[in-house]
Each structure stands twice: as C-alpha cells, then as structure tokens.
Symmetry: C2
Subunit: 93 residues, 2 copies
DNA sequence: TCATCAAATTCAAAAAAGTCAATATGAACC
DNA sequence: GGTTCATATTGACTTTTTTGAATTTGATGA
C-alpha cells in the first residue's frame, strides 16, 4: 500500500463526520444534484460544498458538471479501496 | 445496521489520525505493552493513553491488564465490522 | 452585454480534537 | 502500613476541523 499515514488518515476522516455520512446515505440511492442535497439536508450551500470537496478529494464520491448544476454520485472504487485498506490495517500479520 | 450516524462517525474517526494508524501498524505484529508503544513511538505517556482509549472504545483494539501492565492487541472483529460498514455505506442500493 | 442562477471560495468565528505536564489511581512488593 | 512503578485522568493549552454569511466564479438565457 503506497499511501502515507497522512493520506490514509485523510481518507478515513472523510467518513468520520455525521453530515458526510448523511450525504453518502442519500447518494446510495443514486446520483443527486448538489441543490437537492442542500435542500434535503437543510444545510447552507457553502457547508455542503465544503463536505462535497472532502468526499471528492478522497475519491469516495464523483462529481459531474452539467451546465449550472453539479451532480454527485458514489464512486464504486473509492469505498472498496477504503474498505480494503481498513481491513489490511486491522489484520494481524 | 443499528449504529447511529454519530456512532458510525466515531468509529471511522478512530482511523482518521496518523498516530493511531502508527499504533495499529505496531499492533499488527502482535500484542504490545503500553510501555513499549510509548517508547517505540516516542510519545508522552498521557498522549498514548488518550489514543488507546479511543481505539478501545471503538472496538478496534482490545486491552488486557496484567498486574501493573496493560497489553494491547488488534481486535479481529473490530476491523472487520468497520470494513463491512464502510463497504455498505459506499454501495449503491 | 446584462441579469440570473448554481456552486465554489473566502474568511472569521465556533466547535472539536489532540497535546502534554501534573496529578490520581491502583497493583506489586517491602 | 509505605514505596515504587505503570497507566489513567485532569486541565490548560494548541491545533485542526466545521460552520455560514458574504463574495466570486462560471454557465445560461434574455
């Protein structure tokens, strides 16, 4: 595993926030527009944007721009990579 | 999954810190005494104790007391539970 | 070009997490 | 009893993360 401790910590931190877990739960039902997430979660637009940036930077979520709108969806590789890493980190050699 | 968002976030936060990842890496080679961890990681005793509490509370690590000493080891169920949860959270329905 | 709308960014404040010296606890041995 | 040693806890402090109003960016359409 090539990741540094700092990179690994950043990845797991992405899952370590209630609001981001709520966002993921919504995205499990399929791609959502940022405006829908803001509305559903009753969250200021800048706060949602902050969390989406974290989720995208860690590869957990992918963003797709369409004109004025941005649609977010769960990256199927991101979660699998994180889960595999987590399992490795907790497996005795 | 019975866990609340707050409980889930707490679990992943346990993995979201460099020092705790280093501790886990050491424990992957087998049970270690707290004093060995403190020494190896060159960390103040109170700081190690703080991190061990977090790892134990989330079920990632188990502590075993033997007289004055406390030995820590990776819980094989803790990591598997966390990995399974992480995978579930990132799986589209 | 100009107005409008969605989303990103900025920035200052608030909240949460981490640090570590000092102290408390509690087991072992005299 | 009292001392010693390992670990936990406390409390004050620093650092990091999160928040949200205000602003900017960037695309759309009149």
């Amino acid at each position: 595993m090539a990741k540094t401790y700092a990179e690994q910590a950043k990845l797991f931190k992405a899952f370590g926030d209630e609001k981001r877990l709520r966002i993921l739960e919504l995205l499990r039902n399929g791609e959502k527009c940022a405006c829908v997430l803001t509305d559903t979660l009753d969250m200021p637009q800048s706060t949602l944007s902050y969390h989406m940036k974290i989720l995208c930077e860690t590869g957990v979520v992918e963003g797709r721009e369409d004109g004025k709108w941005t649609y977010y969806s769960i990256s199927n590789s991101g979660g699998q990579t994180a889960a595999a890493l987590l399992l490795e980190l907790t497996t005795v050699k």
